[in-house]
């Protein structure tokens, strides 16, 4: 109640403070999470959910867009349940989805170590790690099903790391105090994805799932107020195809590539969720992005993507920069007393192991002071000299050998001899399409799972939680909740031809327009410039001034794009430049919404740091009185409308984080 009143006050203030930028609409509520004790809610919902008769399942078609951990596991499971599934991916095989690149591990509340872990503790850590901006009911369910994920993956033959007794090994991760992270060397994402992929291909063989590779979703078909299909482009023939269904599931991943440089795969894009947003699906917390502190820095303007180095390196490496500005000496020539081990200096309690957002911002600060190292001064040292002296080179090699090799392959430098250079990079987007407890968006029949939705991580995702959420959604949550919706399918009625024609026309018009501009700049050059704007003004640190600047620059650049982009060739066959241009066009629109969201949220929380909202020590300061809500944005031709979903904490007490 208290929050509701405050939220209303805030609404009034904001309508005044950001005139013309957005409007405030009716609050929104998650109506699907049952009441009652939190540990019973998922059981209650499962029991309430209507079931579909097995005979009827065969008559129902579900479209799943994306084949990563969420989409792959959902398509496989829906196929097993007897639905007719159509699965789409833009890659040449479902096994390529970017979940494959996740290194670290997957959390689960198995408590195999007997170190005090429990479902409740995983729930608590995740809500706190998300800086109190996630829903309690969702996160509790996530922690509950985490244990089933490990069972499922092991049964599929996922080769997790094991101990000599043959039982599963775990490690601690991301600042938690229990050892609950299951892993498969540095390739946990790959192994879990291949498990889901194999389950998916098994359903293809069984005739339950049809996979459309090299197909990109370009529009959602909404008819009678329900999501009823997609328009896709066959990227090999260029043909525009219509696929109709009784429900559509988007599992198309995150939108970190709006920054151009990120750790995402080159093809990762926002088009599927952005088209759905423009068709009526609200977008939740678009400004929440995660910037990972340990990535290999950019080596020049040619850079096309950034590569993550596992966070575990900070266990033994020491982070430093020269004390003096513009000190160009080789690192080995800088004496000890002229080095600033700034994390150890500022955060003596946690030192080099402070959480991701804090480590990232500290690196930015020293580089902004002109003390950064390497090309462009955008890097800090991660030095293993002490570790090598202490543990011996062999021990370091055993622990980090593969990472050192990867670093050397990319940079040509040997980290046993010269310190690594690292810099933060965009890694994950906590924001995404708004969904209720059933993972259904504001368009009936449109479900959104995995990184594509906004749900479980609040304002900051903990390490080893992305794999958990993707698989929880795909294997266990969606297959149950979608049944409740599909049980009413007999009343859906036919899909109106006009609605299909309109969606197809939108796709065709956009392609024609992109090909007709015939200007002087490539889509990539626009994308780079957009990314630079986002990184500089809506990146690790945001201010009202920087965001307003971005909101001036983005529309200007977007206009130039539509007047001056050059897309070669035609739409008749494989045209990778056309694919890229279409994605960049959607990134422009999303970028603007991200900046508006970041501007309106004047507090700092998790990955969203507003310079105006910090405590005396320069740490992020939340404003729970005014911002304990999910910002769910509705698209309208007149500009975005903000719907607030109030967040109530019955179980976890909200506190300010401190790592000093």
């Amino acid at each position: 109640m208290k929050f509701r009143r405050r939220a209303q006050q805030q609404q009034e203030e904001e309508t005044v403070s950001l005139p013309g930028m957005y409007r405030v609409g009716e609050p929104i509520q998650d109506t699907k999470a049952p009441d009652g004790p939190i540990e019973d809610r998922w059981d209650t919902r499962r029991f309430q959910a209507k079931l579909v008769n097995p005979v009827n399942k065969r008559k129902l078609t579900v479209i799943v867009v994306g084949t990563g951990l969420a989409g792959g596991s959902a398509a496989a499971t829906l196929g097993e349940l007897g639905y007719k599934v159509k699965s789409f991916c833009y890659q040449d095989s479902p096994r390529r989805a970017h979940s494959i690149a996740a290194q670290g591990g997957i959390n689960a509340a198995k408590n195999y170590r007997g170190d005090g872990d429990s479902i409740y503790r995983l729930f608590y850590d995740t809500v706190k790690g998300g800086d109190y901006r996630a829903r309690e009911s969702n996160v509790y369910r996530l922690a509950q099903v985490s244990v089933n994920i490990i069972d499922q993956a092991v049964a599929q033959g996922v080769p997790f790391a094991r101990e000599y007794g043959g039982l599963l090994d775990t490690r601690s991760f991301g600042g938690t105090q229990v050892s609950r992270t299951f892993y498969a060397r540095g390739q946990t994402g790959q192994q879990l994805l291949l498990g889901a992929y194999q389950a998916l291909e098994r359903q293809v063989a069984a005739g339950n799932v049809e996979v459309f590779t090299r197909h990109e979703m370009l529009e959602l078909i909404v008819s009678g107020g329900r999501a009823r299909g997609v328009v896709v482009r066959d990227m090999v023939t260029g043909e525009i195809e219509t696929h109709l269904a009784d429900a559509v599931v988007l599992a198309s991943g995150g939108y970190g590539n709006v920054f151009y440089l990120s750790t995402n795969a080159k093809g990762c894009n926002t088009t599927a969720i952005w088209r759905a947003h423009k068709k009526g699906a609200y977008f939740g917390n678009p400004c929440y992005t995660q910037i990972h502190p340990t990535c290999i820095p950019q080596s020049g303007d040619h850079q096309s993507k950034l590569t993550l180095m596992s966070e575990s390196l900070r266990n033994d490496g020491r982070v430093w920069v020269p004390k003096r500005k513009g000190d160009n000496r080789a690192p080995g020539d800088i004496p000890e007393d002229e080095r600033d081990y700034y994390l150890e200096r500022i955060y003596p309690a946690f030192g080099n192991l402070v959480p991701r957002d804090i480590a990232s911002r500290a690196a930015k600060n020293v580089c902004d002071e002109g003390r950064g190292v390497g090309p462009g001064g955008l890097g800090v040292y991660l030095d293993f000299a002490d570790a090598i002296r202490r543990m011996g080179r062999e021990a370091v090699e055993k622990k980090y050998g593969n990472l050192f090799e990867m670093y050397e392959r990319i940079t040509g430098e040997n980290p046993y001899e010269v310190p690594m250079r690292i810099y933060p990079a965009v890694h994950y987007t906590m924001g995404g399409l708004w969904v209720d407890y059933d993972l259904q968006s504001t368009i009936p029949g449109l479900f959104v799972i995995g990184e594509a939705n906004f749900s479980d991580h609040g304002a900051n995702r903990l390490g080893a939680s992305a794999l958990m959420q993707g698989l929880a959604d795909g294997y266990f949550v969606l297959p149950t909740t979608i049944g409740d919706y599909l049980a009413g399918a007999t009343s859906f009625g036919p899909v109106e031809e006009d609605d299909v024609a309109e969606a197809r026309k939108a796709v065709q018009d956009k392609i024609d327009k992109l090909l007709s501009v015939n200007g002087n700049r490539t889509a990539d050059s626009f994308h780079r410039e957009l990314g630079r704007i986002m990184w500089d003004y809506c990146g690790m640190e945001r201010t009202e001034e920087s965001l307003r600047k971005a909101l001036e620059r983005i529309p200007e650049l977007r206009e130039e794009f539509w007047n001056n982009v050059k897309v070669p060739g035609d739409a008749e066959g494989l045209n990778q430049a056309l694919e890229r241009a279409g994605r960049v066009a959607d990134f422009f629109e999303l970028a603007e919404l991200m900046c508006i969201d970041a501007l309106h949220r004047t507090e700092s929380c998790g990955g969203h740091f507003r310079a105006e909202s910090q405590d005396a020590d320069g740490e992020a300061l939340r404003d729970d009185e005014n911002f304990a809500y999910v910002a769910a944005w509705e698209w309208t031709p007149e500009g975005p409308v903000l719907h607030k979903e109030e967040l109530n904490y019955e179980y976890v007490k909200m506190t300010q984080r401190s790592y000093k």
Partner: protein, 246 residues
């Protein structure tokens, strides 16, 4: 550095295809091979030419999407390295580099350096899985797995499905790819119930797709960016023979 590139251009599977020569100047040694091709493509677009089509996605050596034959070697001469992780510092100013697609009967060219590897998906469909519907799994610790077996299974399971093994093989055989999956699952207790049917079905599918047979040349392992061991093929043959003799 300045380079001369000889790149295979082919406009669709029915086109005959040809090598076309391009110059790329001011290449930085810190660029990845694909970034060097990005530079070429940006220029071709602005000049009104058709950019070179090539597959790529993660650009960190794990998705398996990229792959080209560079100076006659699948993924280039750098060992245990995918094309996207190959960097230009391994080349010299003035070098001429030939770039071709994977060439194999079972991998038809889609365009330029892009080939159709869907045959790999169909080999997995034939049996590269454990039949365990969602929700039916027993408690994870109910079946201990000796660490040595789990580690060996992992080594085989790291295959990224890029297809370099096929491109390097004089017979265009997919034995290393197929054997990697068979080995991964046959080393684990979870893979035992379907072990023989899996080996038979996957090998038969591999043959049906038009891949050649294995003659123990070993080129596959030599170019494999993940170092999938050659002896996986012996394991596959053992499982297959056992299944076929029944």
């Amino acid at each position: 550095m300045n380079l001369t590139l000889k790149i295979w251009r082919q406009n669709g599977s029915s086109d005959k295809g040809r090598m076309v020569t391009y110059r790329v100047d001011d290449v930085s040694p810190d660029m990845s091979f694909l970034e060097m091709l990005d530079v070429l493509n940006e220029r071709l677009i602005l000049e009104g030419d058709d950019p070179v089509a090539f597959d790529h996605d993660c650009r960190e050596g794990i998705c398996g999407m990229c792959g080209m034959v560079i100076n006659g070697v699948a993924h280039g001469e750098q060992k245990l390295t995918t094309t996207c992780q190959l960097h230009m510092r391994h080349f010299k100013d003035g070098d001429t580099i030939t770039i071709e697609p994977w060439r194999a009967a079972a991998f038809p060219v889609v365009k330029d350096l892009v080939v159709d590897r869907s045959a790999f998906d169909r080999i997995i469909q034939a049996g590269g899985f454990v039949s365990v519907p969602t929700g039916s799994a027993p408690e994870a610790h109910s079946v201990p797995v000796p660490k040595a077996d789990a580690d060996a299974a992992f080594d085989a399971a790291t295959c990224i499905g890029c297809g370099a093994c096929v491109a390097a093989c004089p017979n265009g055989s997919a034995s290393l790819f197929t054997a990697a999956k068979i080995t991964h699952l046959s080393l684990l207790p979870q893979g035992q119930p379907e072990r023989e049917s899996r080996a038979r079905a996957m090998v038969e599918q591999m043959d049906a797709e038009g891949f050649g047979g294995c003659t123990n040349t070993g080129e596959c392992t030599a170019v494999c960016p993940k170092g999938i061991p050659f002896d996986t093929i012996a394991r596959m043959n053992a499982d297959y023979l056992k299944a076929a003799s029944k």
